[in-house]
């Protein structure tokens, strides 16, 4: 990274260090605290950042002893040390036996005993003939007169100093020999719960700025950056106009942006809606319907014989309850039954079997979107174009290429003059407009409900050749029984493969993923 770019990544804590010290100078947290007013944490942060950028390096490590104020020590500051309390008690109430002192002050006998021992050794206390402790006011006067502070006064000072220090920590190196001796009496290394101070070893690291810091320092000086730049524009600056005199800290624009989690549409649904919008723009009206259908509309009305292998029990889902629709609308039921049995009035010879009027009422989960086309025929406008994106259900083992329920896109075109060539015209429009195909080819196909039938294959710029969909002209056995006497083009396009490609997926199950993080991160690629 060049120096200019490096400068933009610097935090004010780093800038001040770089601006203040020359390369080679040994620096410590204490130094920064003294010169720049950094707290220990800030100084360490600055050293860590500078080191990572190669602007500072470690110069040495030393171990030092520190005294850390304990919670008990903190309590002593406000309530008094045991020694102070004993002396105050004796001064207020006169001489007392040690057990009486323990009871009155709520102290343990061993604590009172050791305090008495120390104080009497120093001459501040004595024991009278009745084994009562007696304070000696003369001793204090004498001590003050000599210019030497008594130990307990020294301790009080040290405690107050520790309280004021950052983290309640006193450096051993900052204490006089006398102070050290006094503190040692109330400090423990371990089990410091009943001591005023904990004694600990601290490692301090010293650093020095590298040669590289010199160039940065010059760059900072040239740019006039001091580290005192404002971090944010505030309403107050705007109200007072003080922003005119303020320099703003530059952001590191190359750094990673923090993640936001927005409210968002589902990319698969957006893809499907895009296809819907395309079809609407091509003059198609959307249709929709019940997830539960009858054998009649799902297959019989589409002239699929009731014995057709695709209608076996293992190809569609049947409802357990209710099992049958109450009725099938007339005259459609009779017309369709006749078309199956002997062709009825459709000009067909029919399938030549006895149509089962009970079976036809059986309820199933719709297995093909074409059911909606059939249902639309009786009320369709002529000319008319319709489409639907229907959730369909298949008796399939769920895996990467099969789902229990999935979308099919289907539609119809009705008109007195539509024919095979118009059908190819529509397929070409879908291929180019909906699928973005560059080349289109048509091959004969087979669907039970259309004759002739045509498959459309397209060359997609990314996916290469694949089958876009199937189509055909509805058989008269489908349209005539439903009261439609013009040709009806029927088509279905498979867009799952395009959807997977668009979303960068290769498993159909992912389209319906319940995983929130997956869906949040997903985005369309084409």
């Amino acid at each position: 990274m060049d120096t200019k770019s490096l400068v933009r990544t610097l935090h004010p804590l780093e800038i001040k260090v770089l601006s203040t010290y020359a390369p080679g100078r040994e620096l410590s947290a204490a130094r920064l605290a003294a010169d720049l007013g950094y707290k220990e944490g800030q100084a360490n942060q600055a050293f860590s950042w500078l080191t990572a950028k190669g602007l500072a390096e470690e110069a040495g490590r030393t171990v030092r002893t520190v005294y850390e104020l304990t919670p008990l020590g903190l309590e002593w500051i406000s309530a008094g040390t045991p020694e102070e309390r004993i002396l105050r008690h004796l001064a207020d109430k006169g001489p007392a036996r040690l057990p009486e002192i323990c009871a009155a002050l709520g102290l343990e006998q061993k604590d009172v005993g050791s305090a008495f021992g120390l104080l009497s050794k120093e001459g501040a206390l004595s024991m009278d003939a009745e084994k009562r402790a007696v304070a000696d006011p003369a001793w204090f006067q004498a001590a003050h007169a000599s210019g030497r502070k008594p130990r307990i006064a020294l301790l009080r000072e040290i405690l107050e100093r520790a309280k004021a220090a950052e983290g309640g920590i006193l450096e051993e190196s900052a204490l006089s020999a006398e102070e050290k001796a006094a503190v040692a009496g109330i400090a423990r290394k371990r089990g410091a719960g009943d001591a005023g101070f904990r004694v600990a070893d601290r490692e301090s690291v010293s650093y020095r700025l590298t040669e590289a810091a010199g160039a940065v320092r010059k760059e900072l000086a040239d740019a006039g950056i001091t580290g005192d730049e404002a971090g944010a524009l505030t309403p107050e600056m705007l109200e007072t106009g003080s922003w005119k005199n303020v320099r703003f800290r530059a952001y590191n624009v190359r750094g990673p942006a923090a993640r936001v989690i927005p409210g968002r549409r589902n990319p698969y649904v957006e893809f499907l809606e895009g296809v819907k919008d395309k079809l609407v723009s091509l003059g198609f009206q959307e249709f929709d319907g019940s997830l539960v259908e009858t054998e009649f509309w799902n297959s019989d009305a589409l002239f699929m014989p009731q014995f057709h292998s695709a209608r076996d029990i293992h190809d569609v889902y049947h409802l357990a309850e209710p099992t049958h629709a109450r009725e099938i609308e007339e005259p459609f039921l009779s017309n369709v039954a006749a078309a199956h049995e002997n062709g009825g009035a459709t000009g067909s010879r029919g399938w030549g079997y006895g149509f089962d009027r009970d079976f036809t009422r059986r309820l199933i989960l719709r297995s093909q979107g074409t059911v909606l086309s059939a249902r639309t025929l009786p009320t369709a406008e002529i000319p008319g174009r319709y489409f639907g994106m229907a959730r369909c259900f298949r008796y399939d083992k769920v895996d990467a290429t099969h789902l229990s329920d999935f979308y099919q896109t289907e539609g119809i075109v009705l008109g007195p003059d539509v024919n095979l060539r118009t059908l190819l015209g529509f397929l070409e429009m879908f291929a180019v407009e909906v699928a973005g195909a560059k080349e289109v080819k048509y091959v004969p196909g087979y669907f039970p409900f259309t004759e002739p039938s045509v498959e459309v294959h397209i060359k997609h710029p990314v996916l290469g050749w694949f089958e876009l969909g199937g189509s055909g002209i509805f058989r008269p056995e489908v349209t005539e029984p439903l009261g439609v006497h013009v040709p009806v083009l029927a088509w279905g396009i498979g867009i799952d493969r395009m959807a997977l490609m668009a979303l960068g997926l290769n498993d159909l199950r992912e389209l319906f993923s319940p995983d929130i993080e997956n869906v949040r991160l997903r985005r369309a690629k084409i």
Binding site: G263, G425, P448
Partner: protein
């Protein structure tokens, strides 16, 4: 859709030429077939190479064999349609020296039978394998898993004519079935033989079962289950084979016999007719000599061909295109009368002729034409409303989800703490994981939450989608509705959040609503509300009951709601 394996050497011999992969792929389009695989570069010797072909037309069983595909390709390329002089017709039976006698006992069981003999040369390995495959595909797809058509092949050298087709009590006959060594009665075959287990559903429970024997009582087969291990054990090199088909529908049985006979004829075998004596007259007579041509001519107006295909067609042009499909026809003024080939019976309607004309002309000869009609496109009202609602929820920080509609009783009922009586159950589920149709969007949302504990919180998700449930008032006894469901999961989720969301959503949708207290077991008592429109319940919202959360293994508080969008259309 059937997929077949084709022996490359046999196929090329029957087609009269060889093909490269791309050529074959293109040629197969004329048979509505797709190349599914070909080990042409695998180092396998040519006589053992296999071409895999998928057939898309379930109405053209004649294409489900090597000879059938080869025939279609041959004629499309300009070859003459083959002639099959061995067919009998109404009033014109071929002489037959062999007979099958159908006993009246089969009438209520499996009443129809067709038969013929193939001779002239020993059967080759590839032809025998192809015949077995044809038998399987024909009887599985066209014969509805052998229920309506099944087939057997036998060694005539072991048969004492005439053959007898009858029905017998299943315990009354014992024989050694193919692929076994022990003698079993018919009931035991259904229980013990693999084919008995697979196809036993056709005969099981009936008092009488079909049986085919020769005149000495030697068993040929137990239709439609299994051949005997002697007369019914055909091997490569055998000559003079009896082919027999039985079934429940005479035209299907007859057509299947015709297809197999034509295949063998194409491969250079001689077809010898067999007379079948029925106990009473059938639609083809009392004694029918097979192979039997029964198809009726079908006529089409050439004007209709032109209207459907979108360009002018003279009767002669129609006939010419049909000839390329191997279909003979005669011109009568405007009309063209088609005589279906012996192996086809798929001309149900004149439009079926039109498709053959289309393929005969070649798809590429039809120019796409832009539609001239003017129509107005529009979305459904509920789709339009759903899009508005979704935009509002996205604005409020919600992620749209989309879920499957099938799930388990555990997820839709048990975990939701609700009774299951209104939920639609599938009678034939594949697994219990997909046994119910979802009655509500809420379990889908809770499932999401239960699998997304690692995603950064808060979680705010929604879906607009379909639900379905029982409704006695409807003709189908069920209704499908479009619902909008939402869920918010985070440490501070509470009722107010859900209520505010619903208020904002309905305000911006311009939808009137009110709320009232309710006691839905999915939500915490006192922290849930029913949404009403003109006094009718159209939704619910509240804090999800901790018992429900516990059922789903969710450890973060959730508020959720669901609204019937169709109530506002």
């Amino acid at each position: 859709m059937p997929k077949i394996d084709v022996n490359e050497k046999l196929f090329f011999a029957l087609a009269g030429r060889t093909y490269g992969a791309e050529e074959l792929e293109l040629a197969l389009q004329g048979a509505k077939a797709e190349l599914d695989g070909w080990d042409s570069n695998s180092g396998v010797p040519p006589e053992e190479r296999t071409i895999k072909i998928e057939l898309n037309d379930t109405n053209r069983p004649d294409l489900w064999s090597t000879a059938g595909i080869a025939r279609q390709l041959r004629t499309l390329a300009g070859g003459d349609p083959p002639a099959y002089p061995f067919f009998s017709r109404d009033g014109d039976a071929r002489p037959a020296t062999r007979r099958v006698v159908v006993d009246p006992s089969v009438l209520g069981v499996r009443p129809f039978m067709a038969a013929f003999v193939i001779s002239g040369k020993p059967i080759s390995d590839s032809m025998l394998r192809d015949a077995i495959q044809t038998q399987e595909k024909l009887c599985w797809n066209f014969g509805r898993k052998r229920a309506s058509v099944s087939m057997g092949i036998y060694r005539t050298s072991l048969i004492q004519w005439p053959v007898l087709y009858k029905a017998v009590p299943p315990k009354s006959v014992r024989f050694v079935p193919l692929q076994m060594t022990e003698t079993l009665d018919l009931a035991e075959i259904l229980d013990k033989h693999p084919k008995g287990q697979e196809f036993g559903f056709i005969n099981r429970g009936k008092k009488l079962h079909p049986l085919l024997t020769d005149s000495r009582g030697g068993v040929l087969s137990y239709p439609p289950i299994i051949n005997s291990a002697d007369i019914g054990a055909v091997q490569v090199g055998d000559t003079d084979l009896l082919v027999e088909l039985t079934g429940t529908d005479l035209p299907s049985v007859t057509l299947s016999a015709s297809i197999v006979a034509c295949d063998f004829a194409d491969a250079g075998y001689t077809i010898e007719p067999v007379a079948v004596d029925y106990p009473e007259p059938t639609e083809f007579g009392r004694t029918v000599v097979f192979p039997y041509y029964f198809q009726k001519p079908v006529s089409v107006d050439s004007g209709r061909v032109a209207r459907i295909l979108g360009r002018s067609f003279s009767p002669a042009a129609v006939a010419e295109a049909l000839a390329r499909m191997g279909v003979r026809s005669e011109i009568h003024g405007q009309f063209v009368t088609v005589f279906p080939p012996e192996f086809r019976n798929d001309f149900l309607h004149p439009v079926d002729i039109v498709e053959d004309v289309m393929i005969g002309c070649g798809m590429s000869t039809f120019e796409p034409e832009r539609p001239k009609d003017f129509t107005i496109g529009r979305l459904t009202p509920v789709e339009t409303l759903a899009r508005k609602a979704k935009a509002i929820l996205v604005g409020m920080g919600y992620q749209e989800m989309v879920y499957n509609y099938l799930g388990s009783g555990r997820d839709y009922i048990d975990r939701m703490n609700v009774p299951g009586d209104g939920v639609l159950r599938i009678a034939n589920p594949m697994t219990e994981n997909f046994e119910f149709v979802r009655p509500s969007i809420l379990p889908s949302l809770l499932n999401s939450e239960s699998v997304s504990g690692k995603a950064v919180y808060p979680h705010r998700i929604f879906e607009a989608g379909k639900v379905a449930f029982k409704d006695d008032a409807a003709n189908y006894g069920t209704v499908t509705r479009t619902h909008l469901g939402f869920l918010s999961a985070h440490g501070e989720a509470n009722y107010n959040e859900a209520a505010s969301l619903a208020a904002a959503l309905l305000y911006y949708l311009g939808a009137e609503y009110s709320v009232e207290d309710c006691e839905d077991p999915r939500f915490l008592p006192g922290r849930q509300a029913r949404i009403l429109r003109n006094g009718t319940a159209v939704g619910i919202l509240g804090e999800v009951h901790p018992r429900v959360l516990e059922n789903w293994g969710i450890t973060v508080p959730c508020v959720a709601g669901e609204l019937d969008l169709e109530a506002y259309v």
